[in-house]
Assembly symmetry: C2
Homo-oligomer: 441 residues x 2
């Protein structure tokens, strides 16, 4: 059947979208099984949870730790693992397991959905991604066990470590505790383990493998350099903003010691670009901090990573292009390389389409949900960035909201451009017209 | 002195910005004169009012009709007239009056700030703009007199007609009545006169002159075609949205008859793209309607018009470019013409810079103002689009807010790109680097 779908008329983006929807349907059905939940669940809540897990978002309509049985939680963590690896990496893995060889069409499908330029070595890449993911998850798991087994005992400690290791590396933001990681706000080691794990997961596989292979910064690809410097810079700026803006807020950092303020600010600064765990009450943050976080959530993590959003490099490509234009430079220069116009137009398309989907989502939610505007915007952008932070709207959503938010999650995870390609018709042969300028601005 | 400034090292954008600030300073001083106000005014409120008038925004911190004397109101209407004509058209007019000839440098200054491509005939254009403006204002004035003299008597009727004619054509949104035009919500003729006047003013001089010269649609320039079809389309969509969203809202359209609903919805649909008059209480509109209006205000009116925002053609250029990219077309085609990549990059720059300024503004206002997020966003975008609609925040602004909002007005009126050029350093000769692609999205 798999073979049949691929060899049919489906283009890669449509195929990717289809396989996504299949996984969500299966996930929904599994979570709806009587023994998946302690007290039953509506079909729409099961759909919401399955989508949130597969897109590694982490927004929840029911409490993961109490509403789901062990079986339900394992379904969730499996969906997270599949979504985090990337649906297509997972498909490659299935192929490898079944012992079959990939044809040209399958190669194209997989390379496109993995955002890779070359077809060669794609199976090798998939294997590398899988091994790397499992390795980091395993290390995270072991380190968490060291701290949590003494606290929770063998059985619960191992399980909590396993669940949060997978959830952290895949930037899923799911937690078996209803207050997320708030109890560990002052526990430095847990914070370092979790944040390192999700930053490594969020920077993107291509970056990790480039560093592994080339070792020295000056040999890295432009993409890797941009991601490394960019991630560092944006996290630093975010830390300063959260720290300063929340310094006197008694509901968040205000009551903490200066050291704990730094720890909590760091955690809350690095998490909005896709991880989605929280150690402070998001709803209690200042409006300015929340607005700043909305921008971070929209930007998101790295390309070909476990995260969502328009992606950090997309953001930089647009910024650099605008700067070049204002400075009347002919080329867009970064690290002694120039970015092509095509990359800029591609970035523009991603941003505009993503932004448009969010606008439509916010507009509909404004009609259906009885909530402040900021709460709605925060929720919608959190879904798009597959972040999972919430000011508390998730639990109050109407059934329309419970359909709209998962749709935004899917757009954020599949990528606005991939989705647009999936929906667009194939181009026809056409005449070319004369150029004519229009006035703008 | 004028000559000396021009021949100095100032580039056109810097010069434009400077002359803007000079006019605002003069306006502030005039409004601060004891006989300009009935009861005195703080310097910051005078600054706010002068900026709001010169940028034809219409946001007000004091009531125009009661706080200002006739002298103060005349200062305001003069600032509106200068700002509406365009500072540079006004400068050309001063030159003509003084009998001097324009040098090449002055030509370049004026062509650039008028958004014109050719240097030739610029004086002719300035004269045409002035005559056209005065003509439409005069017609609007006469028509308003017909209805208002019987109601308000000769003196007050003539004055009200004069004030609102100038304010309407220049899309200023200032009114001598504290409830704007709310008393005329069901008066069809007043509505038609006012809206026609500000739509003509907001479509842009180049469009008007193109229509005048060419007569037939198929002969029009691409810019004119886009503006005509675009204005019609966006107003139609806006009408449908406002009508449907507010149909049952008892605080706005709900209590009106179906005919009055249509009238009021039409008025409130065409005004957000820059005119800024209102006939219903903006604060009472649904969140969805307000959010939709925010998008309209950001887009704004036509290039080289009396309005602000990123401009309708900028918006279309980006939309068409994204559509072409998604459909994998090589050219960006509109009306059997193709738009150049340079236009797209220019549009991108305008939008991103404008958007960034607004984001920074909203962020600061989130810290300083104690108001709901939607109210702040609405106010900031209203200032950027030089629209002048408000959910009521203007009257409650702190002194920081009273500085930030006028700054956003100036950015919206001068244009984000012009401002960016004014602030940017001149390019140096530089090496060109090899192209390298990065992953985006
Ligand atoms: K997440
Ligand atoms: K206005």
């Amino acid at each position: 059947m798999f073979q049949k779908i691929i060899t049919s008329q489906l283009n890669p983006p449509r195929f990717l979208l289809l396989i996504f929807l299949v996984f969500i349907t299966v996930g929904t059905m599994l979570l709806k099984l009587p023994f998946a939940t302690t007290d039953g669940i509506t079909i729409i809540d099961a759909f919401f949870t399955a989508t949130s897990a597969l897109t590694v978002t982490g927004l929840i309509v029911v409490d993961t730790g109490t509403a789901f049985t062990l079986f339900g939680q394992v379904v969730i963590i499996l969906l997270i693992q599949i979504g985090g690896l990337g649906i297509m990496t997972f498909a490659v893995f299935i192929f490898l397991m079944s012992g079959r060889k990939l044809g040209f069409k399958e190669h194209v499908l997989i390379t496109q959905s993995l955002n890779q330029n070359s077809v060669g070595g794609i199976i090798l890449l998939a294997r590398k991604i899988l091994l790397f993911s499992l390795a980091v998850e395993f290390i995270t798991f072991i380190l968490l066990c060291v701290f949590w087994i003494p606290v929770f005992g063998w059985k619960n400690g191992v399980y909590a470590s396993f669940f949060h290791a997978v959830s952290a590396f895949n930037n899923a933001g799911f937690s078996i505790w209803s207050d997320s990681l708030s109890s560990f706000i002052d526990h430095s080691f847990i914070m370092v383990i979790i944040t390192t794990s999700f930053i490594v997961g969020g920077v993107g596989f291509t970056v990790i493998f480039d560093i592994w292979k080339k070792k020295r910064f000056k040999d890295f690809s432009l993409h890797t350099k941009l991601m490394l410097v960019g991630t560092l810079l944006i996290n630093l700026i975010a830390f300063c903003f959260v720290f300063l803006l929340e310094y006197y807020n008694l509901d968040t950092l205000g009551g903490l010691s200066i050291i704990d303020k730094i720890k909590a600010a760091y955690f809350q600064a690095v998490t909005p670009r896709t991880a989605g765990f929280n150690t402070v009450d998001i709803g209690a943050l200042n409006h300015s901090t929340l607005f700043f976080m909305i921008i971070l959530m929209f930007i998101g993590a790295g390309s070909a990573s476990t995260g969502g959003g328009i992606k950090l490099t997309t953001f930089f490509a647009i910024m650099f292009s605008v700067l070049s234009f204002v400075k009347k430079k002919e080329d867009i220069e970064v690290f002694r390389r120039s970015i092509s116009d095509r990359t800029v137009v591609r970035s523009l398309a991603i941003t505009v389409i993503g932004f448009s989907f969010i606008l439509v989502g916010i507009f509909i939610l404004d009609i259906t949900e009885d909530a402040p505007f900021l709460k709605i915007v925060f929720e919608a952008v959190s879904a798009f960035g597959t972040v999972g932070l919430s000011m508390g709207l998730t639990g109050e959503l109407t059934w329309v909201g419970k359909l709209i938010i998962p749709m935004i999650m899917i757009i954020g995870k599949v990528g606005p451009l991939t989705l647009a390609f999936a929906l667009a018709n194939q181009p026809k042969v056409r005449v070319r017209y004369a150029k004519e300028d229009i006035l703008t601005g």
